[in-house]
Symmetry: C2
Subunit: 708 residues, 2 copies
Amino acid sequence: MRNILTTWSLASRTLQTSCRCLHTTAPVARALVQRKQPVMATTTTLKGAPFDRALLEQLMKRRLFYTPSFEIYQGQKGIETKGLFDYGPPGCALQANIVDLFRKHFILEEDMLEVDCTMLTPHEVLKTSGHVDKFADSMCKDPKTGEIFRADHLVEEVLESRLKGDKEARGQKAAGDATKEEDAKKRKKKVKEQQAIKLDDAVVQEYEETLAKIDNYNCEQLGELITKHNIKNPATGGDLNPPVPFNLMFETAIGPSGAAKGYLRPETAQGQFLNFAKMLEFNQQSMPFASASIGKSFRNEISPRSGLLRVREFLMAEIEHFVDPEGGKKHPRFEDVKHIKLSLLNRETQLSGKTDIETKSIGEAVESGLVDNETLGYFLARIYLFLTKLGVDQSKLRFRQHMANEMAHYAADCWDAELLTSYGWIECVGCADRSAYDLSVHAKKTGAPLVVRETLKTPLKIEEWAVDIDKKKFGPHFKKDGKAIETAINELAQDVRERLALDLRNDAKCTIPVPGVGADGSATVPAELLTIERRTRVENTREYVPNVIEPSFGIGRILYALIEHVFWTREGDEARGVLSFPPPLAPTKALIVPLSTHPDFAPLVRQLSAQLRRLGISNRVDDSSASIGKRYARNDELGTPLGVTVDFQSVKDNTFTLRDRDSLRQVRGSQEDVCEAIRRMCDGTEKWADVEARLPLFVGQELEEEAK
Amino acid sequence: MRNILTTWSLASRTLQTSCRCLHTTAPVARALVQRKQPVMATTTTLKGAPFDRALLEQLMKRRLFYTPSFEIYQGQKGIETKGLFDYGPPGCALQANIVDLFRKHFILEEDMLEVDCTMLTPHEVLKTSGHVDKFADSMCKDPKTGEIFRADHLVEEVLESRLKGDKEARGQKAAGDATKEEDAKKRKKKVKEQQAIKLDDAVVQEYEETLAKIDNYNCEQLGELITKHNIKNPATGGDLNPPVPFNLMFETAIGPSGAAKGYLRPETAQGQFLNFAKMLEFNQQSMPFASASIGKSFRNEISPRSGLLRVREFLMAEIEHFVDPEGGKKHPRFEDVKHIKLSLLNRETQLSGKTDIETKSIGEAVESGLVDNETLGYFLARIYLFLTKLGVDQSKLRFRQHMANEMAHYAADCWDAELLTSYGWIECVGCADRSAYDLSVHAKKTGAPLVVRETLKTPLKIEEWAVDIDKKKFGPHFKKDGKAIETAINELAQDVRERLALDLRNDAKCTIPVPGVGADGSATVPAELLTIERRTRVENTREYVPNVIEPSFGIGRILYALIEHVFWTREGDEARGVLSFPPPLAPTKALIVPLSTHPDFAPLVRQLSAQLRRLGISNRVDDSSASIGKRYARNDELGTPLGVTVDFQSVKDNTFTLRDRDSLRQVRGSQEDVCEAIRRMCDGTEKWADVEARLPLFVGQELEEEAK
């Protein structure tokens, strides 16, 4: 089982894919470390019980958090819906709340320039960025059945299956076994492969080494492996065509002629780079600044799997922070965060085959050079604060540094924020220092000046060897070679100029190498045509291409990991789940339940609901005839943090009980009190403990009712 | 000049496009009415001055509200970027605020089920919905130059140009002349056509009639017109290929095989229909309910134009309200809105060639039958409330009813909310009663039960003629015809059954028509095989396909029209614009300006900015050395409603002046007072007048400063 990180990379997908082509120095140790993740990681809920993925998946479906898209069309001819998911009301609200917190935490807090760029992107733009050439996985096809396999997955699957068969033959229990359910599924598919056949020890070792390096094989090498290990279609045993690269971008044509090729963007970054000059102008030429973009991106995965974690259409949020490459990439607000302690898995640890975490303040990490610079460190800390505000379990969050061969050649440093889920550690945020790469390639392609021009506070005095050509005489003297010689002179390096100045003084002429000119590729220039002398030049402005620090968020992955982190079941009621979203994140904030269907309750319910709505607090009324306990159980599954019960006492004195989802404790207060408490918990200014300290506890009929 | 409404239709694009094919009963009067819109409508700003589009466009560019996408790539080979726009920071914030208000006003207020469905959509889904076959415009190509024209636009352009030439030849000024600037542009393109040539009176009449009916020609008919009127490429005079239909959906392939064709959705509705059964379940089987979706849609326009009004990628918000078709489609909250008065342009008025508005309460409009039902009426009123909350000018808002031939055959009624802009009246929201069409076609295609099953409160007793077949004898008696005869019997209508019951009693047999059976297509059934008798059946459930009322919002169009509505210039400073967004909608809520760059101001500025941020209020600090007047002018253009000035008095007593963008009046208060006033204005609970009533007016140095 290969670790998913290396293929699910989000921020650095391009980098990684290109790595597969460009950097094949295979670090076996790294791959081995990563392979230590089992298919189904054993994780525990926040109450310490074993996490049950099947139970959560049933809940997700039952409560319509998300659902496969076009499900009623599945099975129709020519339909491909894998990797496409629709969010239902709770998923949609949760997503909107994550995005809202992203806007507040990053964009508003840091005055970032939010832009919304198109998803349709012309071919040329993605050609320049490198996506057209390198954003690809290898696939091979069964020419008989038409089935298509992702080549690395296939090799992996088959070799692992054989190793498992070997272990069975040796009477060992295979390590990292999948759950029973998954096992059953796999067995069905792998009839031909998964047999208890003992392998030679040398073969076992070879397979294990191959698997360890699986991410580092390019398309051709994967083809060799398939031939060498006689890998066939696992379901039919049929031969496969050699693997070919498959670009992961969805292609379309823009405009009616069909001639202008375009793609759906595979990330939101390019639009930000292309608008750099306009944004700099908008920011009144002030540096550093950041832009941000929240929107859908698209990747035509060869074989999508693992639910929301590898999909073909997904919501991203990306920040591009533009910074002067000189001066160590300091950040003005680094002071505010430098005390924050992060769990770091550094490059060296991974290379030595370990996964030990070190907990360090980001201040230390930057100072020691582990994290490349302050700006990168600042964003790692801010990402940490964002994820913990969302409610992720801090013990399931780590920052993993990319190893050299994971990064593109131009990247200075890169860290992934990974969240532990039942699928293993999942990259949810990437944070890379992409140097000046992106702006440079687009500037080079288009000629647009994607640069910063800075007026120098103290003008720079530059002493240098300057050349002066007497143009009137120069042209007639050299005739057709004039231009080439002039260009060659202007391009002379300082040390050469110095030497030639001496020649001119001593010999009244000098010889300049000019390819293609004269018999020996050089020209002799008399001193009357050329002066070279030491001069002082004053520069008042400085021009530079900013570097880019890019924090890149996979919102769908964060959403799914968060759901796993906050999921638990109550003792004695393990079939029903609870989702303990923090109130600001919860899809619905409050449930209003009348004790019974008694008509006296209706006006109070309406009044409460309307007041909460005025406060901008989403709430739902459940006035069905189900028991209060059942009604609350439904809302536990929706992650609704607060419940308001309307009872006979409410009719008399307009007081209500307010119930906390997590502790099941209740307080009682007036409508004003209760609504204000909900408001404060939902905007994050108060916790339940604060409310309990203010309002009287209530132990009444509802609690007993709930037991029913 | 054809009116844009008929081609820019949003909600009913499919309908209209299909209308062009299905309903060719050309209502000349309608078309004539619509043609009364000039290219450049003369509108006035909210201060009564003539609206200057060029000035606004410069502002939009200068302040980066929006910008052409991929602009630095324009001119590169094979690049097509028309109809694609990026939103810069103010446009993006404005868009987010419109969406936020949409969520509060519709989704939260009405407990709608928000869903987020994929944009990638398989072919079969859009084949079923009708988009694959009918979502097309006609285009023709110049085989020499490769240029592509939208056929109806081309015919229009050429005939109009000839008519104009005729008028010039007759010495008349052409009516509805474009602005000078546009004229100049057109003239450049139409050298060959736009000459002052007098036409025969009969030809003029023919051209005018053709233009009046331009929307009603199908592809073939447009081809005939092009031949008949000898229409060529206006720029070169070259021949054109006959027009062909061009489907407006962007096509792509989903999955690696390339075999599964898909499109980018042209609207957000289909995902909602496909999830109907799941949403009904989520809603605990309770009807009526509405779903809503906010997201991008895509249309590959043949020739995009008019800035944000006709683009290839755009943000939509669509509501699908599912309602029982029986019982008159009442709405439980209709009472709350029935007093609201709307400006209505009804179907009959348009057919009689007029555009007179009648102002009616929506209660009257529904009661008189003008608006088909309460639910449709309820949404028209809610749309009105939404648009006016956004800040659109009420005098530039009307509801136009679709005429019969504008609607699809299945639609019950349809109204567009139109906003008057310099491009004429623009459809910004469509609101259609789509009957049971959408759910029915998808159910039929997939077999999924997209229905509501309702337990009847009082079970229905149905008296009917029931048939009983003695199956044991029936088969052997009729042999191979048995099945067909049995089917025919079961399908017999009640009146036929009654007659046959009589036959059976009288003749001990009856004759049943069964196509293809016997010599005469009938079978004689003896009484011993068949009983037909009157019985009472009790039905406890009712099953029905809900009808759909669909309000559909073009967010980009609303955004643009709103910007035109709130744009004005101050007397004496006409070069600089002001955008009077209501505070809840404004991209940035407050500008903080220190009087000068004096270092004492900095801590106060930081403190103010941080407090506003804590309150969730977006603010910007401008501590540049420009005059206060200049700094405010910049923010007038960004539509920032409030300004806080930090001056020397602030340093002494922590009081600040708060400035109103629209009136330029100022009040003074403590930090607490000022922030609270901003908060209340931004959440819409207070207006400037309320603030002025509470806090002391301030007339001080800033006002004088501003005059500089």
